[in-house]
């Protein structure tokens, strides 16, 4: 063979090798946003990732302005201000969130209650200085907690709280709804690989660019440096977690946190965290209701919802999970 041909071939080979070395993993577009009193981290891959993420953030802002408990002009605030008065006209989005919240209340037999507002306000976890209300104050507030007295008219598109003193708190449901919409926008923009982390709520699109599934760490409720479980989202795309470590204070050896039992008006003391793990397209389920019900009752209830998996961390840090997660989860104990 001609020496020049060998040299040319070698040159092409070396050129290809050089550039193969330059081809490193694709870079994600990352953005952090604040909404509904939580932080939302978005990681997205693709040539138009930045534009797609910005569009999803615009949708987040739009929906937050309807659904927030913290915004003076939101529709939820309007319903709360009119409690005991006339019905309030609401958008389709608010109607969908309230419908979902009432469905949660029904299926959990009140372990989730969207009218928990007066109890949330009374305790003011994270807003007041380590305040523990008296039993009398709790009883008085509990009189205004009853999801049967939230009237939703899907024909006239109105909502009404029947008693003055009632208020809606659907922060968790609204967060899930907003994340679902953000995910839908990213997909519509052609994004095939993304991760949204809204505190205790995770949504993923596809796998990572290298083809491996997204891997999610579940924070150890009692050790901020520790991880209780690592879950590979090889079959699922949605995890929601509620825990007694997210907003809390400790007083005289008792943990007071932000998830309340609607029957007692006090923070739950069953589990330190509970997560639901869902496949794409499945109806959401409120993870905070699992904290109210405790592990045994939750497992019993979840039998009615085949396909929903769950992870429980008890008050001593022991981790357990439903059988469907076997092979996709590693736990610290």
């Amino acid at each position: 063979m001609n020496v020049r041909v060998i040299l040319k071939s070698l040159g092409v080979l070396c050129f290809a090798l050089f550039f193969s070395g330059c081809m490193t993993a694709p870079k994600p577009y990352e953005q952090t946003a604040f909404a509904l009193d939580t932080v939302i981290d978005i990681t997205a891959y693709g040539p138009n990732a930045e534009e797609a993420v910005q569009k999803s953030l615009n949708e987040m802002t739009r929906l937050e302005s309807l659904l927030s408990n913290y915004q003076e002009n939101s529709e939820i605030t309007a319903i709360n201000k009119q409690a005991g008065g006339p019905a309030v006209s609401i958008s389709l989005e608010t109607e969908q969130v309230l419908q979902q919240a009432l469905r949660y209340a029904t299926v959990t037999n009140g372990a989730f209650d969207p009218t928990i507002g007066p109890i949330v306000e009374l305790w003011g976890i994270g807003k007041k200085d380590d305040f523990v209300p008296s039993d009398a104050e709790i009883s008085a507030a509990l009189k205004h907690v009853n999801y049967h007295r939230l009237e939703l008219d899907t024909t006239k598109h109105t909502a009404r709280l029947l008693d003055k003193g009632m208020s809606i708190d659907v922060g968790g449901v609204a967060k899930g709804y907003i994340l679902d919409h953000m995910e839908a926008i990213l997909k519509a923009e052609g994004i095939q690989s993304a991760l949204l982390n809204g505190g205790g709520d995770i949504r993923v699109i596809g796998n990572k660019p290298d083809g491996t599934p997204w891997r999610i760490g579940l924070q150890n409720p009692r050790d901020t440096e520790g991880i209780s479980a690592k879950i590979s989202l090889d079959k699922w795309n949605d995890i929601e977690t509620s825990g007694d470590y997210q907003r809390f204070f400790d007083r005289d050896g008792v943990r007071y946190h932000h998830i309340f039992d609607p029957k007692t008006g006090k923070p739950t003391h069953t589990l330190s965290s509970a997560s639901t793990v869902l496949r794409e397209g499945m109806e959401d389920f409120p993870s905070n209701a699992l904290l109210v019900l405790g592990k045994e009752q939750s497992l019993e209830l979840l039998k009615q919802f085949p396909g929903i998996e769950a992870i429980f961390v008890d008050l001593d840090g022991n981790v357990s999970y439903t059988p469907g997660l076997a092979g996709s989860i590693e736990t610290d104990r």
């Binding site: 050089f18 550039f19 330059c22 440096e225 997210q246």
Partner: protein, 124 residues
């Protein structure tokens, strides 16, 4: 027959191609130095190498301040004027992708690179 010029050319091409493969590994190991990225309302305001030095930084957030302490390869918030004090209660973090969030002040301290937790994100 290969001349000396041909041999030098071949050697140069082989060295260049190997450098092309090796370069990203070297640049990755250089970037693997653990860092704390501090952002306010989503905008990065400070990136600090966790190289063993000690430092205290006062970060002005949306509605108040956080004092961030760096010691060795770990970082924590030691003071904040926020009402819930969750950022202070969280304590030290040292592994990627852990982060401390002060919601009222919209300050986030995040560890990148360095010792990894072997997960893409942590559910808080």
């Amino acid at each position: 027959m290969l001349t000396w010029g041909d041999r030098i050319l071949i050697a140069l091409l082989v060295i260049c191609s190997l450098a092309g493969i090796a370069l990203p590994f070297f640049s990755q190991s250089a970037a693997a130095q653990s860092e704390a990225v501090i952002s306010v309302a989503g905008k990065v305001v400070k990136t600090v190498k966790l190289d063993g030095h000690q430092e205290q930084l006062t970060i002005d957030g949306d509605s108040g301040y956080n004092i961030v302490q760096i010691e060795g390869k770990q970082v924590r918030v030691i003071e904040s004027n926020c009402p819930d004090q969750l950022c202070v209660k969280q304590g030290w973090i040292s592994r990627s992708p852990q982060q401390i969030v002060c919601l009222p002040n919209r300050i986030v301290v995040k560890i990148i690179h360095g010792k990894s937790s072997d997960v893409d994100t942590i559910m808080r």
